[in-house]
């Protein structure tokens, strides 16, 4: 909690400053290209731009407290509604990528640490170095080209579900994989899963590198430490030493880089959604930027930052569960 609240305050001030940093008259920008003098004046008053800066800030915070992020020019809807409606699509993709990255990278790193300089270790280092150099949007396009265009294994990269063949599930959680299961519709589940595979892999690939690298490094440190030697000397089994003594200690350093991983995943989401026609908040923000729809852009940035701060908070709490020392220091 200690770091989350100052971060949130900082985020709110920064987004406020960004929205007032527009060159020229912000009211003109917020009113959009089709505005005349009258509607600009209207926007100026509704945004409170005729008031002093501290008053404007108070108004901004007041609106935020009431869940208002302004109205989007392109959709004509409140920005908050637009974003909330598209948020599950983005989150489903982000979490899927996170899970894939962890499930692949952690065992890879552990193997590499258990047998340093072995084939697995070199393979791990090699793939990690190469994967880190590939821009996510380029990986995504390559995957689409190979698996959709050449091989025909993947469905057309146009959104979350092919609505010609499948029925989109009723919204319960907004996560299609969960909603289709809740509805007991295994056909649609397969359809949604097929759409999710390529964007997930593209997004997960870049996150693999830092997780695998950190797992390897922290496992090496843990396994080389005195308490592991003592555990071995006392005759504990290999698996107990590896997981209870080695891995649990290595986990803390892995949670430490989760902040960076989330920063990367949330940012790259924007690029991946663009490639796959994914109807998430990233694609919404890109079209908003192109259309100079400033209220929508500001809302998006604020929402992303809030999600990011909250995710970091969860990571901190998890770190406390993994290592009681963190709780005492905290």
């Amino acid at each position: 909690m200690g770091s989350a609240i100052p971060s949130l305050i900082g985020v709110i001030i920064a987004t406020f400053l960004l929205s007032r940093a527009l060159p020229g008259d912000p009211a003109v920008y917020f009113a959009g290209p089709a505005a005349n003098a009258e509607s600009v004046q209207q926007v100026r008053e509704s945004l409170g731009l005729d008031k002093s800066v501290p008053e404007q800030f108070a108004l901004y915070v007041w609106d935020l407290a009431h869940g208002s992020l302004g109205t989007s020019l392109t959709t004509g809807q409140p920005v908050a509604d637009d974003l909330l409606q598209r948020l599950p699509a983005s989150m489903e993709l982000t979490f899927a990528a996170l899970i894939v990255a962890i499930v692949v990278a952690v065992p890879l790193g552990v193997f590499a640490a258990v047998r340093p300089s072995s084939f697995v270790d070199h393979f791990c280092r090699g793939t990690v170095t190469v994967a880190a150099a590939f821009p996510t949007f380029f990986v995504a396009l390559l995957l689409v080209y190979v698996f959709y265009y050449l091989l025909g294994w993947a469905p057309q990269p146009l959104g979350r579900i092919d609505e010609i063949y499948y029925v989109a599930p009723d919204t319960v959680t907004g996560f299609y994989l969960i909603d289709t299961l809740l509805a007991g519709d295994s056909e649609s589940f397969r359809g949604a899963l097929a759409q999710l595979v390529l964007p997930t892999i593209s997004l997960a690939l870049f996150a693999l590198a830092p997780i695998a690298r950190m797992t390897r490094a922290s496992m090496l440190t843990a396994l080389g430490s005195d308490f592991v030697r003592t555990a071995r000397a006392n005759g504990l089994s290999g698996a107990t030493v590896l997981f209870t003594y080695g891995f649990r200690n290595a986990l803390l350093s892995i949670t430490n880089i989760m902040g960076m991983i989330f920063s990367f995943l949330l940012g790259s989401n924007v690029l991946i959604e663009q490639v796959f026609g994914w109807p998430g908040i990233g694609a919404y923000a890109v079209s908003a930027v192109i259309a100079s729809d400033y209220a929508a852009v500001q809302g998006f940035i604020l929402m992303m930052a809030v999600i990011y701060v909250l995710l970091n908070l969860v990571v901190d709490l998890l770190a406390g569960l993994i290592d009681p020392r963190v709780r005492f220091e905290g």
Binding site: S3, P6, S7, L8, G10, V11, I13, A14, T15, L18, S19, A21, L22, P23, T129, V130, A132, A133, F134, P135, T136, F137, F138, L141, L142, V144, Y145, Y149, A217, F262, S263, F264, L265, L266, G267, S268, V270, L271, Q274, V275, A285, V286, V289, I290, Y294, V297, Q298, F300, I301, M304, A305, Y308, V309
Partner: protein, 283 residues
């Protein structure tokens, strides 16, 4: 570090990790493209040719041509200047500004330290690419603003490091001696403390380069900053992406591979540089 030991470390780093040598070769190649690009290429990168649209790679057009008949090889080579230029400028700016702010914070402590620390914390409270998008959207859609955005999101990495390193040296004996000798704060920082923390900061900068390239290319991929018909790798990939469903792979694969090569090269160089400067941190 004397020149002789530096040369020895360099030789050792190459022997230990031959990939560093590969990176140096790629780097030289990229540099050549960036400096001499326009005079090296066979075609004008902006010249359209309606008779040669979407020609697959051939002897005439090594990387094929795009939807306007422009030679992709020429465009990829010429784009090196813009792509590397954006990344170098952004990294240099965040290096200088971040180090200065961090050094001041670490040296002065107190309120100044807290204020600067808060600014860094706030930048880090955003997913960085999203913040870069927001900055470009707010400042306006131009190449200069892409550079500014990339520089801002990188500030904390240098600032926090410089702050921590300066903070531990603030009361070191040689700093006390310099102070006793009548040197002012600015002079102590610039001449006595900062030179000591520069080598690891430069490793950070070279590791940062690859990331700055990805960031700038990502922004232009979504249509921010660089505008057509300008040749830039990110925007070329994005233009080529429209032809993926008709199988014209060369339009996006070559500029994309150029990006990969550049990022790969800087990551390896950073690793190699770290091995040279700090032999203890070799992994």
């Amino acid at each position: 570090m004397t020149l002789a030991t530096f040369a020895k470390d360099t030789r050792h780093a190459f022997a230990e990790n031959p990939l560093t040598l590969v990176a140096v070769v790629i780097f030289t190649l990229l540099l050549l493209c960036a400096i001499l690009g326009p005079s090296l290429v066979p075609y004008d990168p902006l010249m359209t040719d309606s008779n040669a649209r979407m020609v697959p790679p051939s002897w005439q057009h090594w990387f094929g041509t795009d939807h306007l008949g422009r030679d992709i090889f020429s465009r990829v080579v010429v784009a090196a200047r813009l792509d590397l230029g954006m990344a170098v400028t952004a990294v240099a700016a965040s290096f200088v500004i971040g180090t200065s702010l961090g050094a001041i914070a670490g040296y002065r402590g107190g309120f100044v330290d807290q204020l600067i620390g808060r600014v860094f914390d706030t930048i880090m409270a955003f997913p960085l690419f999203v913040l870069a998008m927001g900055i470009v959207a707010a400042l306006g859609n131009s190449v200069v603003n892409i550079i500014i955005a990339t520089a801002i999101i990188n500030l904390p990495f240098y600032g926090r490091y410089a702050r921590a390193e300066v903070n531990v040296r603030r009361d070191a004996a040689y700093v006390e001696a310099a102070r006793m000798g009548g040197n002012g704060s600015v002079r102590i920082l610039a001449r006595h403390i900062v030179p000591n923390i520069l080598p690891p900061m430069m490793v950070q900068a070279s590791l940062n380069m690859g990331w700055a390239i990805l960031n700038a290319a990502g922004l232009s991929f979504i249509g921010l900053g660089v505008r057509p018909p300008e040749a830039e790798w990110g925007i070329m990939v994005s233009e080529g992406a429209s032809y993926i469903f008709s199988g014209e792979w060369w339009t996006f694969v070559f500029p994309g591979m150029a990006l990969v090569l550049a990022v790969f090269c800087f990551n390896l160089l950073g690793d190699g540089l770290r091995d040279m400067i700090d032999p203890r941190r070799r992994t």
